[in-house]
Symmetry: D2
Subunit: 354 residues, 4 copies
């Protein structure tokens, strides 16, 4: 109810603030008998963690996950999987300057008004640090899904946009550059741009595209819990996300039905895929693809006029180590959330027929 759980059958609940002792979570409902590859989980964590390249924040978090339960001799037991990630780099002193100041476009003001109290250190619960827990759970969900392949990449940084359709892209290029844009030339331009933005003490937004392949037909539920509605919610729950579109998306609104309709082949596949792999809220076996919009990071290295908790004028200025552009590190988070949605519907679908 209070917003810290995601999923119905495969359910993740997370806890933890940016600068508390630890963050962590519980994955409840993971089926028994899954052999976990801990190496892969760690790889996902490394993709998200700060300090991995020169264009992301230089904070140093080990982001080492410690599993406390639900796993026995390398396999899931069907019991809840509890885990913690210690906050090793929490320099609380860095944040005394924002104790009473509401940073523009952050959650400081709304948390204070809603709860009457907030842990101001590093943004507390509203910090994107929380997404590390999503990546842990997503990495397990991915292993549960086996053949289903979930791939995300950066499709734009500011106005620099990769115009290619996902089907023209070689996914193995994604991790070859720090931007995670699967086009070497564009990636290089984006990287330069992010660096120049950082020099200005500013930040910039971007988009992440995600593709889900080898999806079994029948995932998703009618009416309110349509597959794309849950994917949308999952993506919009990620910090800094402002929009979501799947299949033809906003561009589909200017098409005619005669152009937009996906004509069937005799095997049930479709000639085009404006539907984005989902019809009536349920997967049809075609590739699912969607795009997620991220706003520019709110913390900038410049002085901004603002107010304090008493309504007096104040100044805010980012200190320390922040991301000039969030999308490169958002890629594994988008994948993780997609995996959580798919795992949940995959399990739920086992109950849909006699």
């Amino acid at each position: 109810m209070a917003g810290n759980s995601f999923g119905k059958i495969f359910k993740l609940t997370t806890f933890g603030e940016s600068h508390g002792a630890a963050i962590g979570g519980i994955i409840d409902g993971c089926p028994a008998g899954l052999s976990l590859d801990f190496e892969t989980i760690n790889t996902e964590m490394q993709r998200r963690k700060p300090g991995q390249s020169s264009i992301v924040t230089q904070r140093k978090e080990e982001d080492k996950v410690k599993f406390l339960s639900g796993i026995f001799e390398g396999k899931t037991t069907g019991m809840p999987i509890g885990f913690v990630i210690e906050n090793t780099d929490h320099k609380s002193q860095d944040y005394s300057h924002i104790k009473d100041v509401y940073r523009p476009s952050h959650a400081d003001y709304t948390y204070d008004k809603k709860y009457g109290i907030r842990d101001y250190r590093g943004g507390g619960r509203s910090s994107a640090r929380e997404t590390a827990c999503r990546v842990v759970a997503g990495a397990i969900a991915k292993q549960l899904l086996q053949n289903i392949k979930i791939t995300a990449y950066v499709s734009s940084v500011g106005e620099m946009e990769l115009k290619k359709n996902y089907s023209e892209i070689n996914f193995s290029e994604i991790e070859k550059n720090p931007v995670r844009c699967p086009d070497a030339e564009m990636a290089s331009k984006m990287e330069d741009y992010i660096k120049s933005i950082r020099k200005e003490g500013d930040t910039v937004g971007g988009t992440v595209t995600c593709v889900i392949q080898n999806v079994p037909i029948g995932l998703g539920e009618p009416v309110f819990d349509k597959l794309h509605a849950e994917l949308g919610k999952a993506m919009l729950s990620i910090n800094a996300v402002k929009g979501f579109e799947y299949g033809s998306g906003f561009a589909g609104t200017v098409m005619k039905g005669s152009e937009h309709n996906d004509i069937f082949n005799e095997d049930g596949s479709t000639k085009s895929n404006h539907s984005g792999g989902i019809q009536g809220g349920i997967s049809n076996g075609e590739d699912i693809y969607f795009k997620v919009a991220f706003k520019p990071v709110a913390t900038i290295m410049r002085k901004q006029e603002t107010i304090d908790s008493k309504g007096n004028k104040a100044e805010a200025e980012g200190k320390g180590r922040h991301d000039p552009c969030v999308v490169p590190r958002a890629v594994p988070i988008v994948e993780a959330m997609a995996a959580l949605v798919m795992a949940d519907f995959y399990l739920l679908n086992k109950t849909s027929r006699l």
Copy 2:
């Protein structure tokens, strides 16, 4: 779990197929003591129903809601509100031609594969007829929310787009034309365009913009159940929706942080509102605004190549009375879903502090 419920505290569960005896639902968790204005509920129903103007489907459904429980002497009692809407215009014979045919970009194929059985008459459960139940519940939610004002309107039809910001718009113009576009000139063009599209036997998509005003600060929950994430899910659960963006949305991705950040006034309001009234997933008191993308209606009045349930080639052709463009009738549905989200968070927020 099976996707027919929406909301946590103020919870709507719906049932019913397009051509069964009736559709209906249960609203559970509506607080006791709310005096209901049935006239207003009926007005909302009339805004959604077929046959209201020359540019929408000419099907004739009375769409008269019958309340069966939870209301006593005009007030809610805190008990579940059961209601039914009879299907008076269900001409099942109209649909025998699609019994074994999968219509392109409809849910026929996915329902059949997922469930092994489907009520093919009029699309069964996947028909947008189900949204009438959402409008009933939304009309009650609106009354619960009192001062919060929820207004939606058509912001584009195909490539015809109302470029004005919502703040420049006179909302009282919305219902003055059948398109529900609050600009007489643009509305007239859109109307002509929809008529020409219909003549071609084709359909077209569009967008609906929604604005929520007088929102108390503090609605929404952190992390997974952010206010905009639930709004996004709510909108994406409406038939034919392909995308959702709030505040600066996709356009915000090309902005810099120094432009995008909303600077506070001393009273806690903000000078700009790229945040769309939500920061960290929680309402900040500014106007909430978002845009919803609708694809062109899949049923077109032209022959389309398709397959039947045995994988043989077949033909599909829309018969009867269908909407050439869904957005005018989608306006009250968007408002209804927004009201359900707001009512739910409004009630939940009562539990957030000691």
Copy 3:
């Protein structure tokens, strides 16, 4: 949340007051492809309905269920099953005398204090009439469970107790007498006793025993959602229930571990069954059995001192047609609730292993 839903996967939500237009419900999550036997559903309804024998209330309710959705050509479609039962015998005038009076040991006082408003006619939502909806859903759940056999019977009326263990009982005797006690002699005594109690204008309590046979191993979840915990909640949710015990129950508290432990046979079955078919919250394949305690009906045909809604002294006296003893009609309700619990865990168990 507001207490009108039961179950997680196979989920029943009910609505309706005793004297409104109708009661009804929605069953969401029933798997597709189940051929329904409507005759059997009707039989269950007849077992619960008033007026079926001389020892129960002589109210006349047809209790005819009308299914509105989720069923196509006799089979479930996986869509929500909406249903209504009209209130044909609601004589509202009968209840004007209790409009402002709080009947002792009824819900009048607590509803008024909690909600500030109540539908006083016939007890409104707190009336046991609501259980008719449970019987509808339970009858479908029973059909879903196929081989699992759920049998309840009256094991005591007041101090008259059937001392036999369930294993000594011929279940086919249960429906042969109006008390539903499967021992002709004891049933006859109970019947006479109930009649004498009724003559006194009084009421009496009793117990119902329920046995669930042919249970697959593995139903139930660890920790909070133990199979017996959900069965207990289900039973305690029935009007007038004051206690629940399963397996050895309260009698087991005076036993020693060496007597109480159920020793395994080599096939995994157990020599004794003090565990009542459940170990660690999960079914072990042995018979599940439990007992449910019902208090005497609160409505008696005698004058009782009480208060009105203003705190003034008043008198309450049952009028019309009430049950002198609730247990005979409770038998099908106990079975229905047991079926709902079992169906829910049966479906959930499909997700417990890879």
Copy 4:
């Protein structure tokens, strides 16, 4: 869904096995602004922990809870409260003898059949060690409830029963003896009896009575989530519980309505309290009282015939340090679960009226 969560608004999710690295949990939905008294939480933990007296298990667990989030400067922030309790005394070697053996009346067999894998060390997840997490959450719930007073005590051990009504009891006597029976003489007899049972290598059951005082009117929900139904489920979810009754309970079944009905005083209180403080599922302001039946502990210090996982005959014999009677240590667990139920309904009730 998988049974590791309890509560709707004030929600506890737990994880952890008896012999893993740690157990722990997340409390989600605790309102912001509650000043926590950590001393009191620790006191509750000490009441439950092993080794506290000569009549309970002599295992040594520190049971020191470490809070990781959701608390800032001593107050709850409205964010999820994550906590861990390390397993300091897990001697895994002690359990190799039960690796392949199914102990009678334990969960070994059912877990193995349901999940195909189990952590056999110390009973794994089915161990009562998990209840330490409930006590943590219950101690916080108690603080939230402020004036509501929850008191449990041992009312019987085997056939030794404290016949007094709770109203005749001096609650301050409860903690003065290791049995937690608030009658010095009876407590002494019970203690001797437990010691003699232990000498025999055997175990014995008992009952715990719980009283909830100063309850606001209006807690609980109609129909399925009646206050007593949730209390019943809460109690039945505790390891070794076989039965639950509230108010008049099973004894109420032999009463007549004219005796059982609770007559109102003019202030709305009642002259008698057979209803146990709950009418129609909702608290009426009178004391809530209920009794919980615990079976004898399954682990006995004697050889028992049993089978192994291959269906071969085997022997089981308790080793190490086990409770000869569970009820003294169950007292704080019963209170904790009662507190969780009350806190949940207390918060939910804030949404029941306009």
